[in-house]
Subunit: 328 residues, 2 copies
C-alpha cells in the first residue's frame, strides 16, 4: 500500500476535522498585503503529510475531544512548522521544497524572512485563541527549542566527528520536539493528568526521533522520485546524519578521508557524493540506523500502552509503524 | 540639555522599575547555547533609549500600577523590538547599528535569522506570563502589523513616487504600532476602560508617527556623530522618507531626475547623495516635515488631556515634546 493510501486509511476517523484545520490554516495565514499572500499561497500549494495535525487531534481524542480548542492549536503548530521551513530554506540556501521553488528562491531572502516572521506572529494569535496558558508556554518553549536545534545543526555542518548522542540531541530539538508538543498539547486539552501529559510528550518525542532517523536514512537509500530531491542531499550540504555516523565508525580504508574532503568542499563533485552515498547505502549502516529507529518507535509504542484501548490509541500505534516503514 | 539628561529627568520616577526591566530582559534572553548567548549579548551591548518600556510603565501608572504584570509585557515588547531589528539588519544588509557590527555582519545571516526567531519564541513565553489573553492578541496583531509595515517599506524601496499617505501608513505599521501597543498594553493592565484603552492606543500611534518623522528628518540634518550613521543613509539605501517626498513636490529643475538616478543605483556615488541631502536639508522640506510631526504630536497631547492630571500624565506630555525636539 502506498504511503498516501496508508495515511488516508489511518486518518479516516478524523478526516473531516483535518479538513477543517486545513481550511482554517489558509484563512488565518491571510494578510491584507498581496505580497505576503502570494508568498504564503505559494508555500501552501504543496501540503505535507498532515502528520502533526493528526497527532494533535488523535492525542486530544484519547481522552475528552474538545475540537474547538484543538483547532486553533493545530493550526498554530502547522503554521509555526511552516514558518521554520521558510526560514530554514534561507539558511540552507535551498531552491526547491516538495518540488516547488522555495520562497527565498522565488521572492528573495527579505520576503522569506518577513513571511516567516508574519506566520510566527499569526501563530501567537492562534495560541491566544486556545485560552489555556499551559499551551502558551508549550508554544514558546517548543519554538525556542527548535531554534536551538537549528543552531546545533548549523554548528555541526561540515564536522565529521559528530557523535550519535549529539545527533539525537540535535534531531530531538529540531524535529521531534514539535511532534512532542503536538501530542502533549493534544492530551493537555483533552483533560489529561500530569502523568498522561508526560506520557504523550515522551510518545511524541520518541516518534519524532524515529521519524527523523528514517528521513535521514531515506536521504541515502531513497530515489529522487520518492523523496522529491536527489539522494545525498544532506551530505552535499555538509550535514552528517546517522547513516554516515555509523558508516564512518567502520573506519573503512580511504573513506574517512574521502568524506572529510567532501564535507570541507563548498560544492563537492556529484560523482564523489554518489560514491559515498553508495558506500553508506550498501554497508551495514542502514540496518543499524533502522535498528535505532525501531528502538525509539518501540519506546513510543510502550508509552501508549498506558492508555486505555481505543480506536485513537490504535491509530497512534499504527502511526508508529508507518513512520518506520514509509518510503518517503 | 542633552537628550540623555532630558530622559533621565523624565524617567526619574520609574528609574528603579526600568532597571528591573533591563535585568529581567538580560535574564530572559539567555539560552543554553553559547552561540545564541554570544549573539544576543552582542546585540544587548548597546541599549536604546528605553522609550518603549517607559511608555509601557507610564501608561500603566496612569491608573492602577501593577508592575508584576507590566514587567513581563515590557520585557516582551523590548525583546520583540530587538528581534525585528536583528531581522531588519539582514534585510537591509546593514553592517553597523548604534556603532557596533550587526549580528548578520558578525555572525552571518543564518545566526541572525535564528537569533531573531529565538527572541520571538522567548517573547511568546513572556506574554504568557502576563496571563491576560487581551495582551496575547495585542502582541500577535502588533507583530503581524510590523511585518506588514516592513514589507510595505521593502516594496517602496527605489520608488520615487511614494505619497505622504503611503509613507504615514508604512511608518504607522513599522514603527508607531509597537509604541501604540506599549501604551495600549500598559493602560489595559492598569485596568483602563475600553475608552481609555482606545485613547492610549491612539496616543502611542500619534507619538510613534511623530517619532519616526523626526528620525527621518535627522537622517537629513543630523551629523554622523549625533545620529551614529552618516546622514543620507535612507537615501543611499533607496528609501524615500518624508523630507524627500516634500522636496520632490517642489519639482525643482533637475533634482527629480537626479533623485531618480540615485534611487535606481545599487551603490550611488557619495557626492550625489551628499548633494541631494544638502538640497533637501536647505529647502523648506525640513520645516514642512517638522510641521507634520507637530501635527501628530499635538494630537497625542490632546488625547492625554482626557486623563486626570498626574505626575505620569505630565511625563507622557513631556515625552511628546522630547520626541519632536531631540537631536538624535
Amino acid at each position: 500500500m502506498s504511503d498516501t493510501a496508508t495515511l488516508s486509511r489511518l486518518f479516516s476517523g478524523i478526516e473531516t476535522d483535518l479538513d477543517i484545520v486545513d481550511v482554517t490554516f489558509h484563512e488565518r495565514a491571510t494578510s491584507g498585503l498581496e505580497m505576503l499572500n502570494t508568498a504564503s499561497a505559494h508555500v501552501l500549494k504543496s501540503p505535507g503529510k498532515r502528520l502533526r495535525t493528526a497527532l494533535t487531534l488523535l492525542s486530544g481524542k484519547l481522552l475528552t475531544y474538545r475540537f474547538e480548542k484543538l483547532l486553533p492549536m493545530s493550526v498554530a503548530f502547522e503554521m509555526v512548522h511552516l514558518a521554520t521551513l521558510v526560514h530554514d530554506d534561507i539558511i540552507d540556501h535551498a531552491t526547491t521544497r516538495r518540488g516547488l521553488p522555495t520562497v527565498n528562491a522565488r521572492y528573495g531572502n527579505a520576503v522569506a524572512i518577513l513571511l516567516g516572521d508574519y506566520l510566527f506572529a499569526k501563530t501567537a494569535g492562534l495560541i491566544a485563541d486556545v485560552e489555556d496558558f499551559r499551551i502558551d508556554h508549550l508554544f514558546s518553549e517548543t519554538v525556542a527549542n527548535v531554534c536551538e536545534g537549528t543552531i546545533l545543526e548549523l554548528l555541526s555542518v561540515r564536522q565529521s566527528g559528530v557523535t550519535v548522542d549529539h545527533y539525537i540531541d540535535r534531531i530531538s530539538r529540531k524535529t521531534a520536539c514539535l511532534m512532542s508538543a503536538c501530542c502533549k498539547g493534544g492530551v493537555t486539552l483533552g483533560g489529561g493528568s500530569d502523568a498522561q501529559i508526560a506520557l504523550m510528550e515522551q510518545y511524541g518525542l520518541n516518534l519524532g526521533i524515529a521519524f527523523q532517523i528514517i528521513d535521514d536514512v531515506l536521504d541515502y537509500v531513497g530515489t529522487e522520485e520518492s523523496i522529491g530531491k536527489p539522494a545525498g542531499n544532506d551530505l552535499r550540504q555538509g550535514l552528517v546524519t546517522l547513516p554516515l555516523i555509523y558508516a564512518l565508525r567502520s573506519q573503512q580504508n580511504g573513506y574517512v578521508e574521502h568524506v572529510d574532503h567532501i564535507l570541507r568542499a563548498e560544492t563537492p563533485p556529484d560523482a564523489d557524493v554518489r560514491d559515498v552515498v553508495a558506500w553508506v547505502a550498501e554497508g551495514p549502516a542502514i540496518d543499524e540506523s533502522f535498528a535505532l529507529a525501531r528502538h525509539y518507535s518501540a519506546r513510543a509504542l510502550a508509552l501508549l500502552s498506558e492508555f486505555p484501548a481505543s480506536p485513537e490509541r490504535e491509530v497512534l500505534e499504527q502511526l508508529v509503524d508507518f513512520v518506520v516503514d514509509r518510503s518517503r
